[in-house]
Amino acid sequence: MTNRIAALMAVAVLVLGVGCGRNVRVSSPAPAPVATNVAPAPAAPTPAPASASAGVTGSDLHTVDSVLTDIDTQLATVDHDLATDEGDPTK
């Protein structure tokens, strides 16, 4: 009887072990995201103003605005580039 109980316990622990192993796989760390400071997603466009003329829609100008937003971000990156230095690997 004791042998049977021991065998059953061993099987139960093994089954639980497999379950935990799966959990370990699921929770293994994901690769770190690659940081990028170029071309962030543009801000969501807002509705076109009612006063815009029929030919030039608000979305035309919002498209230009989103490109300018990207350009602003990239220019800030250039500002940072020019403010940095190479360091001295010999010291």
């Binding site: 004791t2 760390p29 170029v38 071309a39 035309d60 580039d81 190479e86 690997p89």
Partner: protein
């Protein structure tokens, strides 16, 4: 009872072992710091620092590659030129790293360590070259969209002279930037730094022109 405990121990071992193996998924890349056994401690530290400086630049080159590949408005020519420059630097720095690992005398090591900076200028030259070219080409996209807006406004009978003048001003400042910055070479630094600074100023001016053009277009569209 003893058998029960023995069974539990066996099962527990089976449980824990694969868990440990799965948990060990991270791979830590450490810089190779193989140096001759006789290398003095201070030289060993200097070599380790130089190798770390190269590894940092190699990692940054990967980031720059991502910036180039993800830039939405970069022209095919500029993209190819920038990727070539990045690839050449990656090859050169990788070769230099191997030389530094093998260096066994001080003067040669110090010369190689200086070359990390003087032969590549990854941060001070290549990085602005990449980002300024991306900005200049993004401005090309902005001109195209503003030109289309100007065409529509002109078709409605609006006077777009001022709008087109602003677009032309922006083009005049930003279009030459890639042609000015891409030919710059590391050995020309810092003498060629004024070219970078002028390019930066030109891009800022072009950006202000574009902003003014958008304001004009918006007022004409009312």
């Amino acid at each position: 009872m003893k058998k029960f405990i023995a069974g539990a121990v066996v099962a527990g071992t089976l449980l824990i072992t694969p868990g440990m193996a799965l948990a060990d998924t991270s791979t830590t890349i450490t810089p190779s710091t193989s140096t001759p056994a006789a290398t003095p401690r201070h030289e060993f530290a200097a070599k380790t620092k130089a190798i770390a400086a190269i590894d940092k630049r190699l990692a940054w080159l990967d980031v720059l590659t991502g910036h180039v590949n993800n830039a939405k408005n970069l022209s095919a020519d500029h993209k190819a030129t920038l990727l070539d420059k990045i690839s050449a630097d990656r090859l050169g720095l990788t070769a230099l790293r191997a030389q530094i690992v093998a260096d066994d005398d001080g003067p040669t090591f110090r010369q190689h360590a200086q070359e990390i900076v003087t032969d590549y200028r990854v941060y001070l030259l290549l990085t602005p070259q990449v980002h300024m070219t991306i900005v200049a080409d993004a401005m090309d996209a902005a001109y195209a969209k503003l030109d289309a807006v100007a065409d529509k406004l002109a078709a409605e009978g609006k006077d777009v002279t001022e709008l087109r003048a602003k677009i032309d001003d922006a083009k005049a400042h930003a279009d030459p930037v890639p042609g000015h910055v891409l030919p710059l070479v590391p050995h020309g630094y810092p003498d060629n730094k004024p070219v970078l600074l002028q390019a930066h100023t030109d891009l800022q001016t072009a950006r202000a022109d574009l902003k003014a053009a958008v304001a004009i277009a918006r007022s004409l569209a009312k």
